[in-house]
Symmetry: C2
Subunit: 453 residues, 2 copies
C-alpha cells in the first residue's frame, strides 16, 4: 500500500514544485517542514508526509513518545501498561529517510524570520505546522492545579495511580474512622468522556481490589464521586445516552454531584461556587482544556480558549506557510457555525488536510478547505459497558463496549501496542484481574515505592 503510494507519488510528482524562499540557501532542495507536537494532529501530518518527495520533515515534541491519550485513564487505574499506549517517535521517524525527530521544547515562534526558538537551539522552517494541543483549564484557580491530579500525559497518569494506591495503603493502617473514610474518597471533577470513563473504571477496579487484597479495609467505605458543574453528564451526547450513562455509573457505586462548579481545592477540600464543600483525599481534574500557550506568542488575536484563528485551508491568513491544527486551531463550521471541538477526530482530519495543502503549495496547486466528517461520540462506563452515538445510531451496553474497543484498537498507532493492549484486555477480562497487575515505578515521597504491576 505504502509502496504503491510512493510509486504513484513518484509518477505524479512535480519536481519543480519547491517554494521559493529568499532565505533558503539550497533552493533546489526539499522544502523543510517543521511539525510542533506529536499528538494526533502532528503525528498524522508526519505520517502523511512520510516518504513524499520534495519535503523534509522534522517532528518536535517535548516527550519522546506519542501518547494514545483516549486510553490514558486506563493507565491511571492500572488496567493498562503505560507502554501499551505510548509509541516511540524515534521509531516512527526511523522508517522514512525524509523524517527526523527532535526532543525539544519550543519556546517561541518567529513568524517573520520563519524560525523557532527552542531549548535545543534555533530551528528554521519553510513550512510550519503548529499542533501543540491543549493543557488543562483550571478556569483561573490557583489552588486546583497544585492540589489535584489530571490526565494529560503518562507521567500524570502514573502520579495519579500512585496516589490511589498510596491512599489504600495509608487507609489500611489508619485507625481513625473519619480519616480513613477521607483517604478512601476519590472525586473526579468533570463529567465529560474522560471523567465518566475514569469514574467508571475506578469503581470497577477499586471495589474488587480492596475486597481481595486489603483485608483491613471495608470496601463499603470507598466513596467515588463524579462532580459536574452543569446538570448533564456527557454534554455532547444525546439526552437518552446521558441518562443511561448516569444510571450505569450509579449502579457501579459512583455518586454524581450535579450543578457543582468547583472553585477551589485545598487540603483535600473541594469548594463549590455556592459555598458548599466536600472532602476527598484524591481529586482528579477532568473539567476542561485550553489551547497550548504556544499560540500566545504569535502576535495574533486569539479566539476562545486561546485557540489560533485559521483560514478554512488551516493556515494563517498573513503567513500561509504556517498551519495550525487540532486543539490549537480555531475554525468555525461545526454543526453550522460553532468552532470544531477539541477532540482527536478533528485533529486527525485536519492533519490530513494540512499535509495535503503543504504538498499542494509546494506544487503550486490550489489548497483544499477543511471539511469535517463527524463519526460520532463514544465513551466507556467500565468493562463491558459503553455509550455510542454515531451515524444516527445510539447504542449502550455490551455491544457499544465492543464497538468502543474495536475502534480504539484500530486507532492505536502500532501493531505491537495494539497486540499488547489487546492481550492486556483479554487477560483482565478472563482473569477478572483488572487493575493492580501492571506497573510503572514512581518514587513515593518518603522513598517507599508503590507499583501496580
Amino acid at each position: 500500500m505504502l509502496k504503491f503510494e510512493n510509486l504513484l507519488q513518484k509518477a505524479t510528482h512535480n519536481l519543480t514544485g519547491n517554494i521559493t524562499d529568499k532565505d533558503d540557501e539550497a533552493k533546489t532542495g526539499p522544502a523543510r517542514v517543521v511539525v510542533v507536537g506529536a499528538g494526533f494532529g502532528g503525528l498524522n501530518v508526519v505520517k502523511k508526509l512520510a516518504g513524499k518527495e520534495g519535503v523534509e520533515v522534522e517532528l518536535l515534541d517535548r516527550n519522546n513518545y506519542h501518547g494514545f491519550w483516549p486510553l490514558l485513564y486506563q493507565v491511571a487505574t492500572g488496567a493498562l501498561l503505560p507502554g501499551s499506549i505510548a509509541y516511540s517517535l524515534r521509531e516512527i521517524a526511523s522508517h522514512h529517510k525524509n523524517l527526523s525527530f527532535r526532543m525539544t521544547e519550543v519556546q517561541q515562534v518567529d513568524l517573520d524570520q520563519k524560525k523557532l526558538a527552542t531549548d535545543t537551539g534555533e530551528i528554521g522552517y519553510d513550512y510550519l505546522v503548529l499542533a501543540a494541543g491543549s493543557a488543562n483549564n483550571y478556569f483561573g484557580s490557583e489552588s486546583i492545579p497544585h492540589n489535584s491530579y489530571s490526565l494529560k500525559d503518562v507521567d500524570e497518569a502514573l502520579d495519579l495511580r500512585e496516589s490511589i494506591l498510596s491512599s489504600l495503603e495509608r487507609a489500611s493502617v489508619e485507625t481513625d474512622p473519619e480519616q480513613r473514610r477521607f483517604l478512601l474518597t476519590f472525586a473526579v471533577v468533570g463529567a465529560g468522556p474522560t471523567g465518566v470513563e475514569l469514574a467508571g473504571m475506578l469503581a470497577e477496579v477499586l471495589v474488587p481490589l480492596v475486597r481481595k487484597e486489603y483485608p483491613n479495609l471495608d470496601a463499603a467505605e470507598l466513596r467515588l464521586v463524579l462532580v459536574e458543574a452543569h446538570t448533564n453528564l456527557l454534554e455532547s451526547f444525546p439526552k437518552g445516552l446521558q441518562k443511561v450513562a448516569g444510571k450505569h455509573l450509579e449502579k457501579k457505586g459512583v455518586e454524581i454531584l450535579q450543578n457543582s462548579p468547583v472553585t477551589a481545592v485545598e487540603n483535600g477540600t473541594l469548594t463549590f461556587k455556592d459555598g458548599r464543600t466536600f472532602r476527598a483525599n484524591t481529586v482528579i481534574w477532568a473539567a476542561g482544556v485550553t489551547a497550548s500557550t504556544l499560540g500566545q506568542g504569535l502576535g495574533i488575536k486569539l479566539a476562545h480558549s486561546d485557540r489560533v484563528p485559521v483560514e478554512p485551508t488551516l493556515n494563517l491568513k498573513e503567513h500561509p506557510e504556517v498551519f495550525v491544527i487540532g486543539d490549537m486551531a480555531y475554525l468555525e463550521g461545526y454543526k453550522g457555525q460553532e468552532a470544531y471541538p477539541m477532540v482527536a477526530p478533528v485533529a486527525i482530519q485536519q492533519a490530513r488536510v494540512a499535509a495535503a495543502n503543504i504538498l499542494a503549495s509546494i506544487r503550486e496547486q490550489p489548497l483544499n478547505k477543511f471539511h469535517y466528517f463527524d463519526k460520532g461520540n463514544m465513551a466507556t462506563i467500565g468493562r463491558k459497558d459503553a455509550v455510542v452515538d454515531a451515524f444516527g445510531i445510539q447504542l449502550h451496553g455490551q455491544l457499544a463496549w465492543l464497538t468502543w474497543l474495536l475502534v480504539h484498537l484500530y486507532f492505536l498507532v502500532g501493531f505491537r501496542t495494539r497486540v499488547l493492549v489487546f492481550l492486556s484486555w483479554a487477560y483482565n477480562y478472563f482473569t477478572y484481574n483488572l487493575g493492580a497487575r501492571f506497573l510503572g515505578g514512581k518514587r513515593h515521597q518518603d522513598r517507599k515505592e508503590i507499583i501496580t504491576f
Copy 2:
C-alpha cells in the same frame, strides 16, 4: 501439590505447639511471625509458612512488590518491563488466610520487648525474621552515591534508563564533538555478575539503537567501559570463564579497565586510587553491597559488611526467636570457613531453614542447622551468550545462555511474570528489537519525558 502439603500438615501438626509468651494476650492463638523484607529471603519464609497452622505471618516491606533483582539490569536497558520482574506482595498475601502484608519502613527493633518501631506504628512479634537485604557499598565515598546510578530497585533502574536515553537525546543535538563523546560514554563500575551483565546488555542495546534511530549520531562514538578494582572480572568464577567473559565483552565493544579502584565520582569524572581520571556522563555503580542498616540498631557486635552473626540454626544466640537470613546474616561455613556469600541462592535456602525452625520451635522440636547446597554461578554477556559454572561443569556461549534463561524463568515468582518475561524475550529475540521498546514514565528534570517503550 499445595493442597497435599496442607493435608499432610494438618495430619501431622502438633496443635499444642504455641510458644508461651508472657506478653501475649491470646496464648492459645497462633504464634505471630513478623518477616522484615520481601526479597528472596523474606518471600521464601512467607511461602513456606503460608497455610501452615499455628502461625500468623505479617510480611513488612517498604515497597509493595517483590523484585526479581537478577533481571533488574534488563529493566535498566529497556529490554524488560518493570512489571515483568515485580510481583505484588498484596497479591501473594491474599492467597492465604494466615498471611498479611503491610507496606512500612522498619526503624528499630526492640529485641527485649519483642516489638518493632515502624513509620506506621508499633508491631509486636513472637517470632521475627530479619531479611532486609543489603544496600550499595560505596566504601566510604560521599561523592559516589550522589553522582552515580545503581541497580538496587525498580526506581533506580528507571532512573538509569532515563539517564541513558537522555544522554542520547542530548548528544543528538550537541555540536561540540568532545562534549558529545562525553555524553556517549558510559562507565559501569564493578565487574561482578551485575556489572558484566549490564555492560554486555548496554553494548547490545545501544549500538543498534543509535544506528537505527539516531541518524545524527555515529555509533562509533559510543564508549562503554567496565571498570574493575582488581585484575579479574567475575571474581567468583573459574579463571577460564573469566577470560571467556572478558573476550566476549571486548568483542561486543566493551573496554575493560582493570586494577582501577574508583575513589570518587564528581561532575562526570571518575577518580581512581592512583590519581588517574576518566570522563563519563553516565556512571553506574555495581561494585559491591553492604548489609541493611537495620542490623546496626540491634545492640549486637556486627561482623564484616555490617552483617549480623547468627547461630548455625540462623537465629540469635541471646534471642532464639529472632532469625536473620540472607545478605543481613553472617555465618561461616562456605567452602570450609568463609562467610556465605550475599547471593540469592543462600537467602532462599536459609529462608527454608528459618521457616522450618520457626515451626519446629513452636512444636518444641529441635532446630535444624543450615547447610548450603551450592548450585554454582552464572552470568549473561548479552543475548545468546553466558558463562555458567555449576556442578563441576563450565559452559559458555549459546548453551550457557539457554541454561541461564531457563533457570531465571524457572525462578521468576509468578506464572504471569514468567509468561511476560518469556514473551518479551521472544519478541526481542525474533524482531531484533532489544531495547527502547518497553517503558516506564519518569519526569525529566525540565519536565520533558523520556520513555523507552
